[in-house]
Symmetry: C2
Subunit: 488 residues, 2 copies
C-alpha cells in the first residue's frame, strides 16, 4: 500500500492506543510497553488488552480490542506470532489505523516465518491498516508524549529523528541521546519492515517540520538508487547520518541472522550515497556526536579553525588532528594577538592555538573566543578545558576543606559557586557568540564526569556542545563542512 505523510503522522500522533498482550509480568514485552506508555504520561486513552486481567497499571483491561468502547488509533501487539492473525482480524473489524508489531518470529526466522509475515502484510494492506514491524522494539514520539519502547528511556523533545532497523541498537542510541541532552523528534524501530520501510519514514521526515537531522541505522537498504535520489533531495535541507550494518562479510552474515537483511551493497554504491550528501559513519557513538553538533551549532562556512585552550598540550594535539583531517589552523593577525594579550601573562603563545596558559582571568577565554570569531579569517572555534575545569576546582576545594585551617569555609564555598556559575555563563556566552557571528563554537570539557554534551538555553537558536575529547570536536566540524560542501 502507498504510505502517505498522513499515515505516519497518524502513527506518531494517535488519539488513543491499545496494547494487545498487556500484562504486569515484570520484564515481558506486554509489560514493558504498556507501563512505559502509562508512565510516560501519554495524553490520550490507553487500553490494555488481556482476557485474564481486570485492571493493569490502574487502567481498566479489556478481553479483546472489540470490547473497547471507543475508537483505537494505534495498536501495539506483543502476543506470540502464531496468534497474531486472529487479533489482527479483530483490529480490522475495529477499524484501527496503525499496528506496531513487537512480536518476532516472522521473516527473520526462515520459510514458515516469511510465509506468516506475507500473510499478515497482505491482510493489512487489503484492510488499509499501516503496519510497523514485525520484530520491532517500538517507537517514541516525544511531541505526542508517547514513549513506547522496551527500555523506559524518555528523551526530551528536539529535532533529531532516529530510524533504526535494529531495535536494540536504536534504543541504545536513544538512551545515549537522553543521557547526553540531545532532544529527539521521533524514534522508530522499523524491524523487519513488512510494510512500512525506512523509506516511508524518510519521506515523512523530509516534510516533518519538527525534524532537522535524520539518523539512520540500516542493515538492508533495498533499492539503492531510490535511496540515492531521495537523499540528494533531502540532504539539501536536512543532514542524513547513516550507520550501515553489514558493510563487511562478517557483518553481513550477522545481519542475515538478525533482521534477515541481504548483505553486499558495495563500496561503489556507498560512494554514491556520499555523493548524495549522506554522512556515513562506522561507529555508533559517532551518530550521537554528530547529531549533537549538527542540531546545535551553525554550519562552518570554511575549514579555518581557531583554537583556544587552557593548556598548551591540548592545543598541540588539536592542531595535529585538524591538519590530519584537512582543516587549517591559520596564523592570526598582530591586532588580535594584541587584544588577547591584554588579558594574558606576557609569555603566552601569541598565536593560534591561543594558549591561555592556565589563566584564572575569567575574561580571557571570552575575549579570545570572540576575537577569533570576529575575524574573517576564522570559520569555527574549538575551545578546550574551560567548561570542565570545575571538576578540578572541586578537588582543590575538597583538599582545602580538609587540611587548611586558615582559609575560611565561606571563601571556599564562593570559589566553588564561582566555578559552577562561570561554566554555565560561559556556555551561554558561546551560544550568544554563535548567534552574533553565525560561526560554530565547539567546546571540549576534558573530563568524563558525566555532564551532558548538549547544553540548552531557553529561547536560543543554538545550543552549547561540549565534547569530552578533542577528536570529537574536530571530526564534527570536518563532517559538517563535508555536508555543507556537498550540498552546495
Amino acid at each position: 500500500m502507498e504510505i502517505s505523510f498522513k499515515d505516519i503522522e497518524a502513527l506518531l500522533f494517535p488519539r488513543s492506543v491499545a496494547v494487545i498482550g498487556a500484562t504486569n509480568y515484570f520484564g515481558k514485552w506486554g509489560q514493558l510497553i504498556t507501563s512505559n506508555i502509562v508512565a510516560g504520561n501519554f495524553r490520550g486513552p490507553i487500553y490494555p488488552i488481556n482476557p485474564h486481567k481486570e485492571y493493569l497499571f490502574g487502567l481498566k483491561c479489556y478481553k479483546s480490542i472489540l470490547e473497547v468502547p471507543d475508537k483505537v488509533d494505534l495498536v501495539f501487539v506483543t502476543i506470540p506470532a502464531q496468534r497474531v492473525m486472529e487479533v489482527l482480524k479483530e483490529c480490522a473489524q475495529k477499524r484501527v489505523k496503525s499496528i506496531l508489531m513487537i512480536t518476532s518470529g516472522f521473516g527473520e526466522t526462515g520459510e514458515e516465518g516469511k510465509r506468516l509475515q506475507r500473510e499478515m502484510v497482505e491482510f493489512l494492506e487489503r484492510e488499509g491498516i499501516l503496519l510497523v514491524g514485525p520484530n520491532t522494539m517500538g517507537l517514541i514520539s516525544p511531541y505526542a508524549d508517547l514513549y513506547a519502547t522496551g527500555p523506559h528511556t524518555r528523551p526530551k523533545k528536539g529535532d533529531v529523528a532516529f530510524v533504526s532497523q535494529s531495535g536494540n541498537l536504536g534504543n541504545q542510541l536513544v538512551f545515549w541521546a537522553t543521557q547526553q541532552g540531545i532532544g529527539i523528534s521521533m524514534f522508530v524501530g522499523s524491524g523487519n519492515e513488512g510494510m512500512a520501510t525506512y523509506r516511508d519514514f524518510l519521506l515523512y521526515l523530509e516534510r516533518d517540520p519538527r525534524t532537522r537531522i535524520i539518523v539512520l541505522y540500516l542493515e538492508e537498504i533495498g533499492d539503492g538508487r531510490d535511496l540515492v535520489s531521495m537523499a540528494k533531495r533531502i540532504t539539501q535541507e536536512k543532514p542524513i547520518l547513516l550507520l550501515k550494518g553489514g558493510r563487511t562479510k562478517a557483518g553481513g552474515k550477522a545481519a542475515a541472522t538478525h533482521t534477515g537483511a541481504v548483505a553486499g551493497e558495495n563500496r561503489v554504491f556507498r560512494g554514491a550515497l556520499r555523493q548524495a550528501g549522506i554522512i556515513e559513519v562506522s561507529i555508533p557513538s559517532e551518530l550521537l556526536e554528530l547529531s549533537a553538533a549538527f542540531s546545535s551549532v551553525p554550519l562552518p562556512k570554511g575549514n579555518r579553525i581557531g583554537i583556544v585552550t587552557l593548556g598548551g598540550g591540548w592545543g598541540v594535539v588539536t592542531s595535529d588532528l585538524c591538519e590530519e583531517m584537512g582543516l587549517l589552523v591559520p596564523e592570526i593577525p598582530e591586532e588580535i594577538v594584541r587584544t588577547i594579550g591584554r588579558y594574558l601573562p606576557d609569555f603566552w603563545s601569541k598565536s593560534n592555538p591561543v594558549d591561555l596558559v592556565g589563566t584564572r582571568d575569567p575574561n580571557a577565554p571570552l575575549v579570545a573566543v570572540e576575537e577569533l570569531l570576529r575575524w574573517e579569517g576564522i570559520d569555527a572555534v574549538i575551545v578546550l578545558g574551560i567548561v570542565g575545569r570545575k571538576d578540578v576546582v572541586d578537588l582543590l576545594v575538597d583538599s582545602a576543606k580538609r587540611i587548611d585551617p586558615d582559609t575560611p569555609p565561606e571563601f571556599l564555598k564562593r570559589v566553588d559557586e564561582f566555578a559552577q556559575n562561570y561554566e554555565a555563563s560561559f556556555a551561554l556566552r558561546m551560544v550568544e557568540f554563535m548567534e552574533a557571528y553565525e560561526k560554530p563554537v565547539i567546546g571540549v570539557s576534558l573530563t568524563t564526569s558525566g555532564e551532558k554534551i548538549v547544553r540548552e538555553f531557553e529561547g536560543k537558536r543554538y545550543r552549547g556542545v561540549f565534547y569530552q575529547s578533542p577528536e570529537q570536536a574536530v571530526r564534527s566540524l570536518k563532517r559538517m563542512l563535508e555536508y555543507k560542501e556537498r550540498r552546495t
Copy 2:
C-alpha cells in the same frame, strides 16, 4: 650528568619534601602543590618554605631551606624564574637530592629564558642534584603516597606509568585514568627536560617492577635512533603507548610555542618507532582506552574474535568493525551451537556473533562466553550489553514504582538488587574465565552512565574491562595483537 635508576627512585620515594614558594593563596602553584602533598597523606615530613608565614596547612613554615632542621630529599620550586638561582644555591648547600621545578619562563620563552635554564642546569649538574623540569606540572608517586601535581587527582596504585612533556595534557590523562579506575605506578611531567628527559624515565621504568605499561606524551623526541633502540628492548617486556604531539605542521608550530619542541620527525621515523614495537595513537583518550586493556587482560594469541551480544544490531556493528580492523569473526562448530542453544529460545542466531536475543536467563551469557573461550578456534571474546543493563532495569523499576499498584515494592527492590549483583558477579566471572583460559574478554556496557571502565577484584591477576562503545573493544584487541606480533 648520568641519571641512574637510583636517582629516579630517590625522586619518586623521597623520605622528606619541601616546597619553596609554599602559600595558602588559593589556586597559586605554591598552594596547589603543598596542599596536595598534605591532603594526599605523604608519609614523610613536609617542609613549607615561606619567609612570611609561621604555619601553612597546620605545618610549621621555614624562612629558607637552610632553616629546616632535618634532611630534605626532594624540593619543589614554585617561585618566579628570576629568583630561582638564589634558592638553588641554598638547596645545594643543604645537599638535597632532587629538585622539581614547577616554575616556567625558561627555555620555552626565548633567548633569555634559554640562558637562565642553561645556567641552572649547569649549576645543578656540578652539584650532582637531579632536576625535573623546569615548566613541569609535577609528579605523582602513588606507592610513596606522594601526590604533587596542580590538580588534586589521586589515582590509585597500579601498573601504568605516565610520562608527559605537557603537564596539562598529562594531568588530564591521569584525571581520566582516575575516573576510569585505572591504577598508575607513577606520573611525571618532564616539562622542558632541562636535565632529566623522558629517556631517563623510560630507562627507569624498564626496570621498575611496579610498572607494566608505559604511556608517553612527547612533543620533542630528540635522538630518534636512541628511542628506537631503547623501545626495541623495552617493548619485549612492557608495551609503550605513544602520543606524539606536533606530528603535523600545524601541531609542530603549536608545540614550538608550548614546550619549545623542534618539530619535524617524519613518517619514516614514525614507521621505525612502530617497528620497534611502540604503539602510536593520535587521540589522547586512546591512551587511556589502551592502558585499560593492556594492563588488565591477557594478550590475545590470534585474531579470531567471538562476540556475545544482548541484541543483534550490536553484533552486526561489532562484526563489521572487526573485519574492517583485520580481525576475524569465525563460524562456530555445531557442538558449541548446541550447548549454547540449551539456554536460548529456538530462534537465536546459532552462529558467531552469539545473539542472546535479550534473554533474561542469567546463565546464558556466562555459558556463551565460556563456550567460546574454551574452543581453540577463538582467541578473544567481546561481550556486549550484559554489564550496563542495570541502567535500563533502573528505569523500568522506577516506572513500575510510580504506576503499578499491583507489583509489590519488595519485588521491585529485589529486581534492582539482582541486576546490580548480577553485573558485579558477571564481571568477576569474566576475570575468572580469563585466568582459566588465558584469553582476553572485553566487555562493552553500551551506556554513558559514568561507571568505571576498569573493575578490579581482590587477589585476581586480571581485571574486568568494560568500555562504553564497541569500537573501543575492537581497537584494543587489534592493538594488543599488533604489539604481540611485533614483539615476537
